[in-house]
Symmetry: C2
């Protein structure tokens, strides 16, 4: 089975307590795709500018990520710049230059329209809806969003949530969306918007999975050092949704839990270096080893 | 087996988003004792003033908590007053009136001196050391501390840590003590101060257990509503140490993990109401039910 992902491909400038990098490969769809590619085939829809380095395309292709849906248009690639203090849970955005992303209208290539597993990375919820209308027979649809859309397009976002299966968002977004400080309550409220599953990511504090009859709480994989948290959430989503796509069946509660752990494992690798540097060196057997380790340090009798 | 606990018994005034209470029963040794009493016998050493309500003594006695070591002296009982905003993880201290607690010099009654399980709740580390010197043959010693002692009595605290087996502190204290933002690193550093086990409590984010060869990470028990977090840390310690005392053997990694979960379970009950109100209504079978539930919502294949 394969995934269709729609989102951003960007050039990031990032400053963390461990160093500073300019114009490195980033973007929600990039992190998602790279992570998911360890589990299944990925088909990308995004846009970059004519300045986008060819070697980045090569990097994605080398992981068998289909770039037929990646448009290269005249102009500058989306650029984001941010910094992290010692509390690595929250990025301080220094600048966001949408550039060619500003007029991005995702067009799904005909060859993608029968794809059954769809991930809508964080873009305008109206565009996410528009993508859905182009897909013929989706089996499982997951999406991410952000505070901006809760603030300026809440109605569109709620409409989207009633059409998809899984929402994967972070704790701050869940609280803002539901106006509810308790994440346990927030998750239940979001489920009632019409979703099958809700995943709330809590950064270094782990994640929560909500479903109609179930609940799962997992800590994060313990790392001595978080080098650069950029893309951790999208990498989590890539591992989570990649695993479910690989299964290609109606997921059970246990499948979803495994997916959450695979998501956490992938994110834990991603934050060990800037951009996709750690992911580029990642071997499939390392994923399995860390999955086992995760079990070992969280289970009790 | 039984526990000796030395700490504070206080009258608290607490304000949370859910209400406000004046002069309710509190104190580290109170919360610890009450929680531990569900697992084993508890022998208390503390001091209160002549204003201390008799019904509180009755409440403790009804749980078989031995009060031979509780001194009642002329004057006012230790009073603490604090409030919580919607982020219930941190109390804002409004006032601390030590009163009779200011000159507290713990005297261990002869009948307590052979007790093998010792919990030193948060008091001046020099007093904690003094208590140790009065105990004949301790088998397992655990302690709590606080930011104040890290700041003004770090040397005494480090000396204490080299003499005890287990330190149970919260995330902020661990970071301050080690000057290390990463809790994973902080836990390892604290172990090297000469401890066998370190437990770092992260409030609503769960807890971490460090030992020479092991590591365990547990989320908190998910509650829709935290009513009043006062005493959660001491209640955790009571469940944790109470369980280990009940076992009465050199704990294995798995025993310690179970102890952490029992601690979390007890704390999860405590925060459901003011003071010891929820604990007063607690039935032993509820503890076991929540323990099972904890496993159910955290395990994966």
């Amino acid at each position: 089975m394969s995934i269709l992902v729609v989102g951003s491909v960007a050039l990031d400038s990032v400053k963390t307590p461990f160093g500073e990098k300019k114009d490195i490969l980033g973007g929600s769809a990039t992190y998602f795709s790279y992570s998911a590619s360890f589990f299944t085939d990925v088909n990308l829809v995004a846009v970059v500018g004519s300045d986008f380095p060819k070697e980045h395309l090569e990097l994605l292709r080398k992981r068998n990520i289909n770039l037929d849906g990646l448009k290269i248009v005249e102009g500058q690639t989306f650029r984001w710049s941010g910094s992290y203090e010692y509390d690595m849970n929250e990025a301080k955005t220094l600048s966001t230059c949408l550039n060619v992303f500003e007029t991005f209208k995702p067009e799904i290539p005909d060859s993608y329209k029968n794809i059954e597993y769809v991930f809508l990375a964080n873009i305008d919820p109206d565009l996410q809806m528009d993508v859905l209308s182009q897909i013929k027979k989706p089996k499982l649809i997951a999406a991410d969003s952000m505070n901006l859309w809760v603030k300026i397009k809440k109605e569109s976002l709620l409409k989207l949530l009633s059409k998809i299966d899984i929402l994967i968002i972070n704790d701050g977004e869940a609280r803002l969306l539901t106006e509810q400080p308790s994440l346990i309550k927030a998750g239940r409220i979001i489920l009632d918007y019409g979703l099958k599953y809700v995943v709330i990511k809590k950064g270094e504090h782990g994640s929560l999975l909500f479903s109609k009859g179930g609940f799962f709480s997992a800590p994060a994989y313990p790392l001595e050092e978080v080098f650069d948290p950029t893309g951790a959430g999208d990498t989590f989503a890539g591992g989570f949704f990649g695993y479910l796509t690989k299964l290609n069946k109606k997921p059970t509660e246990h499948d979803l839990r495994k997916a959450v752990i695979y998501g956490s494992v992938m994110a834990s690798f991603n934050v060990e270096d800037f951009s996709l540097e750690r992911m580029k060196r990642l071997k499939p057997e390392e994923i399995e080893t860390r999955y086992k380790k995760f079990k070992e340090i969280t289970h009790f009798r």
